[in-house]
């Protein structure tokens, strides 16, 4: 069926649009295969609102009509549109039939299942060509750039046809001394074939962060020699490695009943296992739903707000993610040991923890390019099932299937780190907000599908544009820069006291009046920094840097940052 067949009424005049903190507007509403377009009727400088239908999470309709008088004068309907980026809009549409038609078109077109029907496959802006490079980096490139790996590690292409592990990319980095046959056996011993692969090698001591899925030990404690050898090769003679299991000890025990399990001490004698409980799947999705609900009700008393905030548990997830990432960093940086991170499938919390740890450890991942590369390697290529996880956001009434805002949780954690180290990241909150939006609905193909294999099959790289490439175009990138950026080579350990973590107002209160004053303050910071650059000239920025370093005092820790930028 053609997409256009879903559209029964394409155009309605005299529609009233209501948005938070803006006066109501009257204009024309159009539905196309992928967009909802509203434009007001003023002749000069007409204003338009273009919403990707995929961005629409839920719609609610109410029609008022005198019964028995179809198309009577004054019959009208209201559609409330709740977007995945948390914006809520209201459209008053004259004519009941039109209203119902529009609503049903939106419902049908916003929940397309087929990847190739999605907008990225139709998005053809004049300034981009499809022949350009797609993506920023690949396993091979990362390996080439990372000289410290060359000695002991190699790139294995055993997964080039995605048969060993369907959710892994075609190439992975493995210890030199383990051959591909062993890897295949290890893959059979891990859920979904996700055998331990290298995710990061620390630039200071060569210690690595590996990630995998759970071993399939099962109830009768199976073992896999090759898996054991593989992990032994990872630590290579050093006496100790840590396995951070993202489940509680009890959960890990229970997983054995369903064929999963954990690395037993007796078979992995040089690895020390630490359990950290992390919520996953539905629980996290429900947290998001509860949190957004709490944020969108302005009538709450302070007590009720705090209780709802607590009840949503969202901040608890942020807390545990950052703490576990901190623990991984502590193992690698302070104790000088390698770490293997896994939960069950190794596609969600595992990626969250390993990428946060890298952000804390690795100065290279704190630049715009570095951060996007990190996301590309650790989320897109590593097989986070974006399509399943981000099918719906906080408003949808659809029955939850595989939805889980783990990626949003990552962005929130990064924001928390940025709040505590406002000078250490090259990118600003704006980039995080943009990503939070793109991951749910996008013109670009970057977040489509669930794995490299699926993307290959759908021809994503050939037929869509790459978000990361376009974010890095100089004129675009500028919007996402942090004016205060001063690179530091050190690990940035965030504080994880509950008092140090905050609600990400920039995202969750994005559509409230709160944003405006912050925006002005942000501009003020920009102008001060710009003035500084102009006055000081390019070669002088170094001086301020050293000035700044000279005067850093512990009392600076007492300084709060305003909630700006």
């Amino acid at each position: 069926m053609e997409l256009s067949e879903h559209i029964k009424t394409a155009n309605v005049e005299d529609v009233t649009l209501r948005r938070p903190f803006h006066p109501a507007l009257r204009g024309t509403l159009c539905v196309t295969s992928h967009h909802l377009l509203f434009s007001d009727r003023k002749d000069e400088a007409s204003w338009q609102l273009l919403i990707l239908l995929k961005n629409i999470d839920a719609i609610e309709k109410s029609v008022e009509n005198l019964f028995g008088y179809p198309r009577a004068v004054g019959s009208s309907g209201t559609i409330t549109i709740k977007c995945k980026d948390l914006l809520v809009l209201q459209l008053e549409i004259p004519g009941m039939e039109e209203c119902l038609n529009i609503a049903s078109s939106i419902e049908a077109l916003s929940s397309l299942e087929s990847v190739t029907e999605m907008y990225p496959f139709f998005y053809r802006p004049s300034h981009l060509t499809l022949n350009g490079p797609w993506g920023l980096s690949s396993t091979e490139q990362y390996y080439k750039q990372t000289e410290r790996l060359w000695d002991r590690w190699r790139v294995s292409t055993l997964n080039s046809d995605y048969s060993v592990c369907p959710s892994y990319p075609s190439a992975v980095i493995m210890p030199r001394e383990v051959d591909d046959d062993k890897l295949i056996r290890s893959a059979r011993f891990r859920q979904g074939g996700r055998f331990p692969v290298l995710s990061y090698c620390h630039h200071r001591n060569g210690m690595v962060i590996m990630r995998s899925s759970q071993p399939l030990t099962g109830a009768n404690k199976k073992r896999c020699k090759e898996d054991e050898l593989l992990l032994q090769a990872v630590i290579d003679g050093s006496e100790l490695g840590y396995i951070i299991d993202l489940r509680s000890a009890q959960q890990a025990q229970q997983a054995r009943m369903t064929g999963g399990g954990f690395e037993s001490k007796s078979f992995y004698s040089h690895w020390k296992r630490i359990h950290r409980h992390h919520e996953r799947g539905k629980v996290v999705q429900e947290s998001l739903i509860k949190l957004v609900e709490a944020c969108s009700d302005p009538s709450h008393s302070v007590d009720r707000w705090l209780s709802k905030l607590e009840n949503s548990k969202w901040l608890s997830h942020v807390h545990s993610a950052l703490s576990t990432a901190g623990l991984v960093v502590e193992c690698v940086e302070r104790d000088g040991h390698s770490v293997l991170v896994h939960g069950s499938e190794g596609t969600d919390n595992t990626l969250l923890v390993s990428s946060l740890a890298q952000l804390i450890l690795d100065p290279a991942s704190r630049t715009v390019t570095g951060f996007l590369c990190l996301l590309e390697r650790e989320w897109i290529q590593a097989g986070h099932p974006f399509q399943q996880r981000c099918a719906h956001s906080a408003y949808s009434h659809a029955r939850l299937k595989q939805e889980c805002p783990i990626f949003l949780l990552l962005l929130d954690c990064v924001w928390q780190v940025w709040r505590q180290f406002p000078l250490a990241l090259e990118f600003s909150e704006a980039l995080l907000l943009r990503l939070a939006q793109e991951v749910y609905a996008s013109n670009y193909g970057t977040f489509l599908c669930n794995s490299e294999q699926e993307r290959c099959a759908a021809g994503v790289k050939e037929n869509t544009h790459c978000l990361f490439q376009s974010l890095l175009r100089p004129d675009i990138e500028e919007q996402y820069l942090n004016p205060l950026y001063e690179p530091t080579d050190l690990a940035i350990w965030p504080s994880v006291h509950p008092q140090s973590l905050q609600l990400w107002t920039g995202l969750f209160l994005r559509w409230t009046e709160y944003a405006q004053n912050m925006e002005e303050a942000r501009e003020e910071v920009w102008s001060i920094v710009k003035e500084h650059h102009e006055q000081a000239g390019p070669d002088r920025t170094n001086n301020t840097l050293s000035t700044h370093c000279d005067t850093l005092t512990p009392f600076e820790n007492l300084m709060d940052e305003l909630t700006i930028l």
Partner: protein, 643 residues
């Protein structure tokens, strides 16, 4: 001096409140301070605690390592010492008990504190704030309001200042009559005049109305206030108490205005709780956020159960109501609570701050505190437990006011000339008893104590280092476009003020600061501009035309702005020498190496950020031992698990 039995104890351990870290050092007890000096020579940090800041000292039960001494301070510092010998601990304990309970005003630090200023400088300090000039700034006296000398000798009301402003039509007999009908004689007087609409904010205490009593003079007084404003036919009477409290007061012969007896008043309860509720609430809050290994859930539940933010919102709501009534309706408002020195002060001061951009500047904020808090007799001595403690009188009323202002600075980052460090510094000194401003309970008492002759003024001290308290984002044009602040009172705007209540828990604070960084940039901008100007003049002197001057011209050393030692938390630069020392030590002590990351390769952390401080988990090196389910204490949040 005679109270100090053991002036020095060695080998004392100082335990960190939130981790297992501890440092060893020497404890000194002086007449004014308790000082802890870390013995590690390379990073000797010092902690100086003023006796007046100590709220309580507690001796905990003996442990194997010694005798623990827990000291809680009014500036929310909490220190936990372990003293090796029980006898030393007891000596320190009993000396402190005596020292932190001064029996007379003369024992307060303010009377011995000497910042090496001469008498003239001291006098100038006291003259900085002039309330008569402030009323003049508001446009008072005017055709409707006048200064009255009725309280010149403190005869009518002992807790009011000498100079009070009343409507022209309020004669002396009316004032005196009204004062007899008001609790503690606190009759209605002017505190803020909104010139644009000629509307007045007045304050008083509750009427002694009981169930039916009335007083014609008092009714005339309110009439006079109403008549002084031609913009509005009525005045609002705001009773800032919950209705139930006001009703209960009637049984004691007090109460609230009966609308039938007063013509043209609109009566309104606001519902701010009393000092006892507030004291309990803060107690709960501090217990919550002082817990070790606090989980997110416990933190939020604790925050909610304390009710603290609810009370803050109640005060804010009242102030917004006041500001709206005055600026939008142009009506005059009379504010009172029971005695009119706690909630009334909060609401009047905060309301004025919302209406008048002047109070959002550094100088203006001092004036505001001087006017609504100090001169109108907020009982600082009782509320802050300065002397002769009555635990039932202590209450964080002023702290709440400061917090309300902080909440506003968070909503309006450009509206205030000062940053939160100004507020925190004021809070520090309200309790330090180092300056004369906040001593005593009323102006009259301060005069009796001859504070202006015998002590120094905090305001002069703060102004002398005001560059430490500037808000770099302050924009005077914002004040022009927003003369009246209209804060949102959505629940999510009320946040926990970590930098106040956990101000000494360094591991909680952000490791880098936007505010400070921007201040540095701004200052260096100014510096550079100055240099450019200077060079221009110089060149002109030599007859060189300079118009397209390149910014690179100034020599390098000029472009490095001399930074104040400790920009923030007002390290007193000149005067408070000993505290300066403390902060210097902290500055160059423990974490100085980390402060200049480029120069050292040793510590791989940023600005005081270290794993040990955070304690993500204690990784035990118990590997290799054969007991397989090794117990690993994972101390992170509340997570304690075994594997």
């Amino acid at each position: 001096m005679e109270h100090i039995r053991t002036p020095k104890v060695e080998q004392v351990k100082l335990l960190d409140r939130f981790s297992n870290k501890s440092v060893t050092g020497t404890l000194h007890l002086t007449a004014t301070h308790l000082i802890f000096v870390e013995s590690n020579s390379t990073s000797a940090q010092e902690i100086w605690i003023l006796h007046h800041h100590i709220a309580s000292v507690e001796k905990l039960s003996l442990t194997t390592s010694g005798c623990p001494l827990l000291i809680q301070c009014r500036n929310f510092r909490l220190v936990h010492f372990v003293i090796p010998r029980e006898r030393d601990c007891h000596d320190i304990y009993s000396s402190l008990l005596r020292l932190l309970r001064p029996v007379s005003y003369d024992e307060l630090y303010a009377f011995s504190y000497n910042p090496k200023q001469n008498d003239q400088q001291r006098e100038e300090g006291w003259q900085l704030i002039d309330l008569a000039a402030e009323f003049e700034r508001m446009g008072v006296p005017c055709d409707q309001w006048q200064l009255t000398d009725v309280n010149r000798e403190y005869k009518v009301c002992k807790t009011y200042p000498r100079d009070v402003y009343v409507p022209i039509t309020a004669s002396k007999p009316i004032i005196v009559g009204s004062s007899k009908f008001r609790s503690k004689g606190r009759f209605p007087v002017l505190t803020y005049f909104y010139q644009e609409k000629k509307a007045a904010v007045c304050r008083c205490s509750q009427p002694l109305s009981g169930f039916s009593a009335r007083c014609l003079e008092d009714e005339h007084m309110l009439q006079a206030i109403s008549k002084a404003n031609h913009n509005s036919r009525y005045i609002y009477v705001m009773d800032t108490r919950p209705k139930l409290n006001a009703l209960a007061n009637r049984a004691a012969g007090k109460g609230y205005e009966n609308e039938d007896n007063y013509s043209n008043i609109r009566f309104q309860f606001v519902g701010i709780e009393n000092i006892h509720v507030m004291r309990g609430s803060l107690q709960k809050l501090l217990e919550g956020v002082g817990t070790r290994s606090l989980s997110m859930t416990d933190y939020l539940v604790g925050l909610e159960n304390s009710g603290w933010l609810r009370h803050i919102k109640a005060i804010m709501d009242a102030a917004i109501f006041l500001a709206k009534a005055v600026t939008v309706e142009g009506a005059s408002v009379l504010v009172h609570c029971s005695d009119g020195w706690d909630r009334t002060a909060q609401v009047c001061a905060l309301g004025s701050l919302l209406m008048d951009p002047y109070y959002r500047t550094i100088k203006g904020f001092m004036v505001l505190i001087e006017k609504d808090w100090i001169s109108f007799g907020h009982k600082f001595a009782d509320r802050c437990d300065q002397l002769d403690p009555d635990p039932k009188e202590v209450s964080p009323i002023f702290t709440q006011f400061l917090e309300c202002v902080w909440q506003l600075t968070e909503q309006f980052p450009q509206a205030f000339e000062f940053s939160e460090w100004f507020l925190i510094q004021i809070h520090e000194h309200v309790h330090s008893c180092q300056f004369g401003n906040f001593l005593g309970n009323s102006q009259r008492q301060r005069e009796d104590l001859q504070l202006k002759e015998r002590t120094y003024s905090l305001w002069a001290h703060l102004l002398s280092e005001n560059q430490n308290y500037l808000n770099p984002l302050f924009s005077p044009s914002f004040a022009e476009s927003h003369p009246v602040l209209e804060p949102s009172t959505q629940a999510y705007h009320f946040k926990f003020w970590r930098n106040m209540y956990n101000q000494y828990d360094r591991s909680m604070h952000p490791r880098q600061s936007i505010l400070k960084h921007v201040l540095t940039l701004q200052e260096s901008n100014r510096e550079l501009e100055g240099t450019v100007q200077a060079l221009k003049t110089k060149l002109q002197k030599f007859g060189v035309n300079t118009s397209p001057l390149k910014p690179q011209t100034p020599p390098r050393e000029c472009s490095l702005p001399p930074r104040p030692q400790s920009l923030i938390l007002g390290a007193p630069l000149l005067s408070r020498k000993e505290v300066q020392q403390e902060e210097d030590e902290e500055v160059f002590g423990e974490e100085a190496r980390e402060d200049a990351p480029a120069s050292t390769g040793g510590e791989r952390t940023v600005e005081g950020s270290s794993a040990t401080e955070n304690s993500y988990g204690e990784l035990m090196g118990s590997f290799g031992s054969k007991n397989e389910p090794g117990v690993v204490t994972l101390e992170f949040g509340v997570a304690r698990m075994t594997c």
